[in-house]
Amino acid sequence: MPTAEQGVESAQAVIEWTADPESWMSEEFNDTHLVFFKPSAETHFLNFLSFGALELVGSSPATNVTLWHALLSKFALSEQDLPLSLVETVVQQLDEAGLISPVSLDAQNS
């Protein structure tokens, strides 16, 4: 278990995000993804970007920056199309929805 100090440090430094692909079911309709998240029993609508981010984080843990690069290549986008700040926003929204969580928290849980 991390100490409070470590927790603060990790929050400020590079958080790695993770997601469990088993925890959701999804359907795609015209580039819109319907996601049923089992732990919360909530249904979310994700667009190609947020769903892409969820899938990437689900396949291997990523920081905001590594996720950003992965998204750029996955969707063949330029940095002008997809600024890092938008990835950060997406990550925050996925975190708020519980779909992804910090690796440290996940380690605590297991």
Partner: protein
Amino acid sequence: MIKDALRIIVGLQPLPKGVMDRIDLIRFADANHILGQMAFHCHSSGSSGMADVFSNAKLRAAHDHTMLTYEMNRVERALAGLDLPVVVLKGGAYVASSGRASLGRRVSDLDILVRPNDLQEIEQHLLCAGWQPDDQTNNEYDQQYYRQHMHELPPLRHKSRGTVIDVHHALLPITARNTVDEAKMFSEAHELNTGNLKVFSPVDQIIHSAVHAYADGALDTPARTLVEQYFLFTELTEDEKSTLVFRAREVGAQMSVALGLWMVGHVFDQTEAKHLSTELRASWRYPALKFAMLNKLRDNWSSFIGKGYLYIRSHYLRMPLYMLIPHLMRKAIQWRPTPKTPPEFPFPQ
């Protein structure tokens, strides 16, 4: 009749034969919020109507449990990195420890207990994570009242999920006449296998249930309380039972526990509980309380003698007398006379 109903519900007696009797029983269980428990514990009849009723009730409870488990996950997320211990109370604790008392139990809010010194920091983190004071209590009087006299923060409601969390820093109000040593109970709380959340030990869970019901005056759901304490009690190991009396005295909860055990013994013919209750002794108010409690149980609506007494008594126990009367006056307009029903949809938007 009530005794029979409760005994059927926990599975001590078979279901009545007559359909109309069964219907009455279902209504009783539903009105007292223990239909879910009944669905799990009573002896099934094999009728398809009963199976429908029970499967509906189980589904509702399952939904509550999913929500509650997720809320616990969200609390952990909100407090990630803080490393401050948090004890999950009441229904949340039963669900988290998945004992008999959790089966079919409806849960609407999450109750947690934190150490008084951690309160401010934890409140801050919860506010940052999207919980906010509920509109209903977000007025000066209520905020002041909670902070000055109560043992918990005003309820916090999550802004997007609509879920409610009650953050306690003590088990009884600051102004209560009875006190209970929650620090002792806190120190022996069990870790859950997830993160920083804990639950009381089985013995302390039944003590807290009794304190909550009989010292806190929160007698909204007497039938549910009884059923719950029955499950908690009968699930104790022999060792745990033997420490119950000592522990109740140690944490200063002998009166509530005595009353709780007496009720369990009386209603469910539980000789062990009766015996332990006698061992614990009673105070001068004990016989009157037993009477009031039975009355309360008899009928939520027709027997207001018991109910009125308990309402006043519960405030009497919470607050010094000089504070009681003005508060009663104020609550004359603010008091909710109807028992707080768990909403059909635990998490309205």
